[in-house]
Subunit: 354 residues, 3 copies
């Protein structure tokens, strides 16, 4: 597979946007519509009912048994001059190996998305970028403060737990190993639980404009932890807290803090170029805890569009308006970048695809 060869055979005037029917697919389809790009939706049979409700946004449906069957339709996709927009479900459903080698142009740096799926590599990139991160513990360490224990690939916060007891960590991880939830104890991340408020910063690195844009911010809405806080019997009834992300709420940040947020975004892009060339392209997210007004700790990143951007579909985010003076949200911003690259010619398109 040579992606550059594929692109060179594309008709730049007739590009289409392909996406897996999940995560932020509707937003991306809408963004493509706004930018007058054709849309292709790869959809698993049992999700078709939902997406057919939005057939106004789709030019062609490609129905597959499982998302990993995308490999069987790459020829068809290429005939449509398709660019795949990856999102949070892409690596998960397609599988790392397959995702990395699919012979179809992908918007962004697919290697970055693979890094993201390792809890430990992900923290390494942040740390080496010079971004403030929580302290990390190994299972041998004494636990001297609250920590959050994160399992490898545990999408959406499933099985995460918070504790300040080394005994509890050992006991629970052993149970997870027994029940097959964890294969390799080495992949478990034991991370300082930073006290502050969560904020998730949505960035877009634009090779076309050579700049990092802050396109929005959200707060995740997690079951059951965000319900427990308003449960009056919490002291009388014992309930195990869980951290499963089921929604997102919009938020803006104090303007003076945009400085540190922007700085972090730039540091992330720069270091990613060194460690995972060609570095971050397009959307990424720094999942953060704001400790005080000039102290932001990043406990995770996403190397692609995050679902929190779904809150700004159509009407655009406050920050999107500042840069663009029109309704701008991540799905549209991605398609705008592709459109501009196509207009500028093949050399530019090569800069944003891998």
């Amino acid at each position: 597979m040579n992606i550059l060869d594929i692109i060179r055979n594309y008709s730049l005037k007739d590009i289409s946007i392909a996406v897996l029917a999940s995560h932020s697919a509707l937003q991306i389809l809408k963004g493509a519509r706004d930018e007058n790009l054709r849309t292709l939706l790869i959809v698993e049979k049992d999700r078709l009912e939902l997406y057919e409700e939005f057939s106004n946004l789709v030019d062609k449906f490609f129905i597959v048994e499982k998302f990993r069957d995308i490999t069987k339709i790459v020829d068809l996709l290429r005939k449509e001059n398709a660019i795949l927009i990856p999102h949070g479900s892409s690596v998960e459903y397609v599988g790392s190996e397959t995702f990395l080698n699919m012979p179809i142009p992908v918007f962004g740096n697919r290697k970055l998305m693979i890094w993201e799926s390792s809890q430990k590599l992900k923290m390494k990139l942040l740390r080496e970028a010079g971004i403030k991160v929580p302290k990390e513990y190994s299972i041998e360490d004494e636990i001297d403060r609250p920590v959050i224990v994160k399992l490898p690939g545990a999408k959406g916060g499933k099985y995460f737990f918070i504790t300040n007891s080394r005994e509890e960590i050992i006991r629970r991880i052993e149970n997870y190993v027994k029940s097959g939830i964890v294969n390799n104890i080495e992949d478990v991340l034991i991370q300082e639980y930073v006290i502050g408020v969560p904020m998730y910063f949505h960035y877009f690195y634009s090779p076309m404009f050579n700049r990092v844009e802050i396109l929005g911010i959200d707060i995740r809405y997690e079951t059951n932890i965000d319900g427990l806080k308003r449960f009056p019997l919490i002291d009388k009834v014992s309930v195990e807290p869980t951290f499963i992300v089921v929604g997102n709420i919009p938020v803006v940040i104090r303007e003076k803090m945009l400085q540190i947020v922007l700085k972090y975004g730039k540091m992330f892009v720069e270091k990613s170029r060194e460690l995972i060339p060609p570095g971050a392209i397009g959307p990424f997210c720094l999942e953060s805890i704001v400790v005080d007004d000039n102290n932001v700790v990043v406990f995770e990143f996403s190397g692609r569009i995050v679902a929190g951007t779904n809150i700004y579909i159509g009407y655009g985010s406050p920050y999107g308006w500042l840069y663009w003076n029109e309704p701008m949200y991540m799905g549209r911003r991605i398609c705008r970048e592709i459109k501009i690259a196509c207009e500028r010619g093949i050399r530019n398109l090569e800069l944003i695809l891998t």
Copy 2:
């Protein structure tokens, strides 16, 4: 009264939208403006000061002593070819009997709104639709988990309480009976308090397009429970929690969960046709707890527009944009449906009014 006869005398090119000055009236008026329909506002004297600030949205004010005096002006309203858009205050202020028999066309199924005002009928519809609901207890039952106790017609959550003690339930309900807050102990609903996070799904069933649209989601903001959770002395100072809805916050849901949300909406419409013909028409809401990413429990419904839709006035909800590619919010969606029905002719208008 025969509503069909009334409609047949209407001039379909000169329909007007009538609404009681409360709840989501401003949104509905704005929606009518967006759809170029005339607007009539029925307003109680002591609310006039507020609504006069928005006289730009109102073609005619009808000032009444009490909302139930709407019966005295139905002739005037009919002369304006008026369609009344009911909302959360309509049944409450007008009274069930009066509301059910007003000789004026009402958008939606008025019988559904009557069902809604009974805690028990409301749960029956949900249960029979096959939607997951919380366990229900009678006052004789042993209480084996936290429950929320809801009084009949207690608008906005007033007097609700959460407990896991049967003694407390009996004691408090007896007090409510004594003080006249509760008339009939049989009307009190004792419902399992489901642990998870609340989300309120705004639906629109469109007879014109024969589809259920998910137009938005909100989280209710309740005093004092949402303040207590950030009150540092909560363990030292005893404060009785209350659940009075005073505001709404926007939220989006994980895209994969739109499947179950849509399915619930369709099941609701279908069963409502059987139990309360002609079934749900236009806006309704499923008040839900998201327990995990494929487990949603519905603890209540509203058979008309909910106030949570007010968050999307003007700029439109993320989901509204997906369906409509323009700013779409519930008040406008209602008026759009009416406008389309009028354009298609009298037979279509009959499908959306009762």
Copy 3:
């Protein structure tokens, strides 16, 4: 300095909007763009990197060492027919004395902004306006309920604390005095901590239309208190709560409560005319606790634009749409008022500047 003389020399067809690069500057610049007014940004060197990202919104940068150096460039600003839009950082960074006497037209009543910086004067205005406020305590009083202790000029809630112990108050204030955080013990405000939910109401008093508009509402997002509420080990690990505002979340209020919100706004404007002539002009905010559906307590006000309005940049607030039928947010609303005043002539412009 005579502001009226300055204005009389301005070319009303070529007004520009000047703002300090902080707080809500981006919003105000964007608002000026929307209203076709030129923009001038006064920026400290170490903030330049951020604001250069938004150079699309700025016609001229004025780079200063410190914001208080604005006094050195007033001549240049006046040559641009500049009107300074003050915000939450203006008095703080420029200094009260300097701010009050700067020979440059300021939108709004600068004396009101000075009042705002005194915790005690601020409560006096609210109280005398007839607005419900929390009980106030002196350090000699017995503390019979939870109170919040606020330091003078403590921007963003720094060093605030909540307690119900007089001993704790005395001990902590003594420490603050020792460490130089507090100079005068008399300036400390000991205020009843009202139980309910916070809501921050954004108003605009328009001399051009002689009306008070409710343009939006937000909830502040404070570290670490809003994180502590979802921290499962809160009972096991002792963490000092802090109240530093780092973000804002959008919210709408129950429609019937708009009555009391509007009434409070009008009462505020009226009393401000008497105590601080010419009274409130343009944006102000009543920081409130909603106790129940007709009980709102105001614990603070801001006499200028608040940062919570940043959530509505570009797409406009729900209430802004109701009044204006176009995307309207505070930064734009300010510039709209100026534009209308300029069109109507010098006498009108004099009504909105001091």
